[in-house]
């Protein structure tokens, strides 16, 4: 389940390299002496004294662990903005997001006007089969009223082990009284890849974030499209994709490249210095169809790695606006009690040796999106997006094989431009300093 907006904010700014578990534990095992000697004697004494003072004197009782969580939070906030401390709940949620699947019933929910409502059931999931609809109001979960229940709590209650049952009491326009829906939980995949066809043999694929399934989903979607139509080109939409797993960024770029370097990283320790190369033999390589990548200021980290590699290797034309500019790699380091640190451990560089930090990827063709009206609040913009989604009016809310129409292209100027470029390939030399092969 999860919620659209929360998922985005969760992954925001993360290029999580979840390769750390084994690595970190060995590091700990190897260096007991170093570890003990590390925090200088007096400074750690100051900390211990502060902890005791707070435990004994703060107006309300606080546990040592509460205090230490606050302290670790404080230590991490002296680092860069992408480093963070996660309590055990937050860490668990991150693992679900990056694994690309969880056990639940397959609905996205949100709070609207203090009511818990279904944003949409995910196709093919138990919720979908049970007939749950977008806009349904969740009155009770397992008999417990949802009045005043925080979103995270509701999410927790609806999720549960595969095979177990959850009962939702739903209210819907047209119901005389709320009805109970008993639903058996299953493993639900989180889709990070969505697509549509465009008239004239052009594929449109949108990647919302980079998680465990992204590359295989992308590859499958591409294959489906190429089997359906004589394939003339691809628009890969990385707009507002905040990133995700580094290895998935490498695989997605590799999908379209047969050789050469994709990205390399440099950190303080040799383990953090890594070079990633493309291998031949993926779906998006042969024949090398024309390709446009869409980016905007919401495209960060993993998105920038993909855009940077495809740009430097002259595989794709980049269209849109300058990307976010996050050129650092974070490693997730689990701590003893189930909490975790997300630490910036390395910087990454595109194949041509350019850092993206603060600079971003500059598009070959700049196309601005329509700006939102300045006086609108974030909440009203979100509400509108939600309503559109519930009416299934978003670009990727329709089936992949239903072609994108001309009116839909008119509403999305960068996409319209990308399609025009692909229809008149190759692009004029004046547009691209590095015309793709």
């Amino acid at each position: 389940m999860g919620t659209n907006m929360r998922r985005n904010s969760w992954i925001a700014g993360t290029v999580a390299v979840l390769l750390s578990l084994g690595l970190v534990l060995t590091a700990l095992a190897q260096n007991p002496a170093e570890r003990a000697a590390l925090p200088g004697d007096t400074k750690l004494k100051v900390f211990a004294q502060a902890m005791t003072l707070a435990e004994e004197n703060y107006a309300e009782p606080k546990t040592a662990k509460d205090l230490v969580y606050g302290a670790i939070q404080g230590a991490v906030s002296t680092l860069d903005a992408h480093s963070a401390f996660m309590n055990p709940d937050e860490f668990k949620e991150l693992q679900i997001e990056t694994k690309g699947q969880f056990s639940g019933i397959g609905i996205e929910i949100t709070l609207k006007d203090q009511m818990l409502i279904v944003v949409s059931p995910i196709e093919g999931t138990p919720a979908y089969r049970a007939g749950i609809q977008a806009g349904d109001q969740i009155v009770k979960i397992n008999g417990q009223t949802t009045k005043g229940m925080p979103l995270t709590e509701a999410v927790k209650m609806i999720r549960g082990p595969k095979g177990s049952k959850v009962t939702l009491t739903l209210n819907r326009e047209g119901f005389a009284a709320p009805k109970d829906f008993a639903i058996v939980r299953e493993i639900i995949p989180i889709r990070s890849v969505k697509g549509r066809l465009v008239e004239g043999g052009i594929g449109y694929i949108r990647v919302t974030n980079f998680q465990d399934q992204t590359d295989s989903d992308l590859s499958a979607m591409l294959k489906k499209m190429r089997q359906r139509v004589p394939f003339k080109g691809l628009v890969l939409d990385l707009r507002n994709d905040p990133g995700g797993l580094l290895d998935q960024a490498v695989r997605v770029a590799d999908e379209f490249l047969s050789s050469g370097i994709v990205v390399y990283t440099e950190g303080r320790t040799p383990q953090q210095n890594m070079r990633f190369y493309a291998r031949p033999g993926q779906e998006g390589e042969s024949p090398p169809f024309p390709m446009v990548v869409l980016i905007n200021e919401g495209s960060a980290s993993a998105s920038e790695i993909v855009a940077g590699a495809l740009k430097d290797q002259k595989r794709a034309l980049i269209v849109g606006t300058k990307s976010f500019g996050k050129g650092s790699v974070q490693t997730i380091i689990p701590l003893d009690d189930g909490s975790a640190l997300r630490l910036t451990t390395a910087l990454y560089f595109t194949p041509s040796g350019v850092t993206i930090q603060d600079k971003g990827i500059v598009p070959d063709v700049v196309v601005e999106e329509k700006p939102p009206p300045a006086e609108k609040s974030l909440q009203s913009l979100r509400d509108e997006a939600l309503e559109r989604h519930m009416r299934r009016e978003g670009l990727t809310d329709k089936p992949w094989n239903q072609p994108i129409t001309a009116p839909e292209l008119e509403r999305d100027l960068p996409l319209k431009r990308a399609v025009e470029l692909l229809r008149h390939w190759p692009p004029p030399k004046s547009l691209a300093q590095n015309p793709p092969a």
Binding site: V24, L28, R35, P39, T42, K43, L44, K45, V46, F47, A48, Q49, A50, L53, A54, E55, N57, Y58, A59, E60, K62, T63, A64, K65, D66, L67, V68, Y69, G70, A71, I72, Q73, G74, A75, V76, S77, T78, L79, D80, A81, S83, G267, R268, T269, Q272, T331, L335, D336, S339, L341, L343, T344, T345, A346, P372, A374, K376, S377, L378, L381
Partner: protein, 419 residues
């Protein structure tokens, strides 16, 4: 209150008591000696050193140990409540010596809450108000620098300097899509009084307390005497405590006495009996012996500390009706506690309860009558808040007083939960 004395804790014991408490603190906590810790302390410390170890080994650039530990102590204090802060040895030294910073100020009270520097209140018509800052605004950047990893005390320091200094701010407001760019020019503190009053149409009196100082009780007494001698006699009083987060416990108690007389005003409770105390008003403090006309007190999210004490006392003792929005819920007594390396913690050791036992800290006071939704005007009023006779909530309060139902509402008003 830092305007008057330069001390750091905003709301603390009366001057005499402060010294006593400080001495007590030194006797208990210094000379630097550590008590044996409980097992769960060691476990928590182990987790802490594990985290520090990982940061020192893996973070992309090396960090100094002092940065890490002081950052940790800031984080620990921030996780408690916005009045808790950490002072470096130098800051603590300044605090002990009562050193005043440079004379200019922005006329704004800030708190560091949920990792955001937030405007608690902005002085009516003061530099921050005129620049466009309002209670509830989050300050994202100060002179281009992100306002991260601060404490309430540090946040306040960033807004002091020589008069004439201009500070550029980036501010996030209530879900606006784009941050606002504002600039505030620091000024000498206002010399004007803390209390203003006038008679509104419909024979209602209006008293505004902008902030609390040592002069407030006297100014309030004068205002009330003037209003209550008005003929024909007033039908009711509106006391405006909105956007007021500045003042001490002692100032609050002395000001509330003016209206409440010899009754309980506030109780403070901490961990042990020694940190609990009840504050009573004094009979001779009262302004007028005759019964008060019905009283409506205006509150909002900028009502904090001394103003919350006063609002709670008037509600519980004078059957005043609170009208407006929920108060901030920041009402504790802080104490500075030195650490072995010369740095110090500023920690909330007791929190305030209204005479009926409602806890203020962390909860705020919920008005019996909700203020009508306000229509936000783009740009807002640059010069100051609207005139009382054009202020929607003041007019709403007058309507309530005219209807004769104010006391009725007060008696029927929702019970606050007891601690």
């Amino acid at each position: 209150m830092h305007v008057k004395t330069g001390k750091l804790s905003r709301l603390h014991w009366g001057a005499g008591l402060a010294a006593a408490v400080l001495v007590l603190a030194l006797a208990v906590y210094g000379p630097p000696a550590l008590k044996a810790a409980a097992p769960q302390d060691y476990e928590a410390l182990r987790l802490y050193t594990e985290a520090l170890f990982e940061i020192s080994q893996k973070y992309v650039t090396p960090k100094s140990e002092e940065d890490m530990i002081y950052g940790s102590l800031r984080g620990m204090m921030n996780s408690l409540d916005p009045d808790c802060s950490f002072l470096t040895p130098r800051e603590y030294q300044d605090y002990l010596e009562g050193k005043k910073g440079p004379g200019g100020e922005a006329g704004v009270d800030l708190i560091y809450k949920d990792n955001l520097l937030t405007v608690a209140s902005a002085l009516d018509g003061g530099p921050a108000w005129r620049a466009g800052l309002r209670p509830g605004d989050h300050i994202l950047k100060i002179n281009g620098q992100l306002a991260r990893n601060l404490t309430t005390q540090e946040g306040a320091r960033r807004f002091r300097g020589a008069p004439g200094t201009t500070i550029k701010l980036q501010v996030i407001r209530n879900g606006l899509v784009k941050p606002l760019d504002l600039s505030v020019t620091l000024e000498e503190p206002l010399k004007a009084g803390s209390v203003a009053f006038q008679v509104l149409p419909d024979s209602c009196g209006y008293v505004r307390i902008k902030y609390f100082t040592g002069e407030t009780p006297g100014e309030l007494t004068a205002a009330l005497k003037a209003l209550l001698s008005y003929r024909p006699a007033l039908k009711g009083l509106v006391l405006d405590l909105r956007n007021n987060a500045r003042g001490t416990l002692e100032q609050a108690v002395r000001s509330a006495t003016v209206l409440v007389g010899e009754k309980e005003i506030v109780a403070v409770k901490g961990r042990g009996p020694e940190s609990s105390q009840t504050y009573m008003g004094k009979a001779r403090g009262i302004a007028v012996k005759s019964p008060l006309p019905p009283l409506v007190v205006l509150t909002d999210q900028g009502t904090a500390r001394a103003a919350e004490i006063m609002a709670g006392a008037l509600r519980d003792q004078d059957q005043a009706v609170l009208l407006g929005a929920k108060t901030l819920g920041l009402c504790g007594l802080t104490k500075a506690m030195p650490l072995v390396d010369g740095s110090a913690l500023v920690m909330t050791v007791a929190t305030c309860y209204t005479p009926n036992g409602a806890k203020i800290q962390g909860k705020g006071l919920e008005p019996e009558v909700a203020g009508k939704p306000l229509v936000a005007k783009p740009g807002g009023e640059k010069a100051g808040p609207p005139a009382p006779d054009q202020d929607p909530w003041v007019l709403q309060a007058v309507d309530l007083l005219k209807s004769g139902k104010a006391r009725h509402v007060a008696i029927k008003g929702p019970k606050q939960e007891a601690p």
